[in-house]
Amino acid sequence: MTRRKAWIAPALLLVGIGMMIYGAMDGEAEIVLRKAATICLECIGVG
């Protein structure tokens, strides 16, 4: 069981890191920064 599962997490980890890098290069990190760097009125129950 353990041996069968052993490769799944490292493979998913690599896929996740790859997706993050692609997303950041595609401008998504900037979108997140724009949203997170100003007070999110919806989040605090005002907007």
Binding site: L13, G23, V32, T38, V46
Partner: protein, 291 residues
Amino acid sequence: MKHLRLIVQACFAALTNGYVRGFVEGKIYSGPLKQLCVPGLNCYSCPGALGACPIGALQAVLGSRGRQFSFYAIGFLVAVGALCGRFVCGWLCPFGLFQELVHKIPFPKKLKKLPGDKFLRALKYIVLVLFVVILPLTVVNIVGIGDPWFCKYICPSGMLFGGIPLTILDEGIRSAAGMLFAWKFFILAVVILLSIVVYRPFCRYLCPLGAIYGLFNPVALLRYEVDSDKCIDCGKCKKSCPMDIDLHKEPGSKLCVRCGKCKKNCPTGAIYNPVLAAMHKHAGHTKNPSV
């Protein structure tokens, strides 16, 4: 070490919410670190927050014009999930810590779960699919931008760590607070009251982040497995589990936040993390590692 988890939870919450100036001036940090996600449900509008909430980040990208998918936020969730699953909930989430502290308030009859537990546990997947993905993607304004529905209508973490401090510190925000603020305050109050009676009700029933990380629990590097040769079926793991999980039957349970109580209470040391155990074996130790 006794209280190791509490120390890690408190230190991580302080580290990721260390912008002290925000609490003094009623502002939020707006530097470049804010584009990086933190693993737990940590509102980016908390005056101290140094990073972004991954659920908020996901909705921000899905709700922006012309985006149907977020490689950045989903990639982060996949990477963290593969690494540690719901270990994040048990060790690194500030709202999880808050619920645990509230649960320490004495109450005559504490419950391990609410009536209708099975149905209620499915709610977090509905919240995830509907409020985090479908509504921000499909309900858009005239310029094609969608609201962060989960943050706006449900998230009690945003209310606790962002809404309340900012309304106290900022006169303008205080005067703008209306029905939506009252609704979110009501949700937070319900979560607090339930937390006194039930262990981590928000994590158990509503949290979309926990729903995602839970899917990785069976395969994450920081997972639990049970050595069937050592297990004597005594049931002490279930008895000691605050989430009421029968770990020896379901070591990859999607509910498990890896608090470690089952492992600590197992009389035969049958519960182990395969990766840490292999590392210890490789280093020549014989005793199981503590996490």
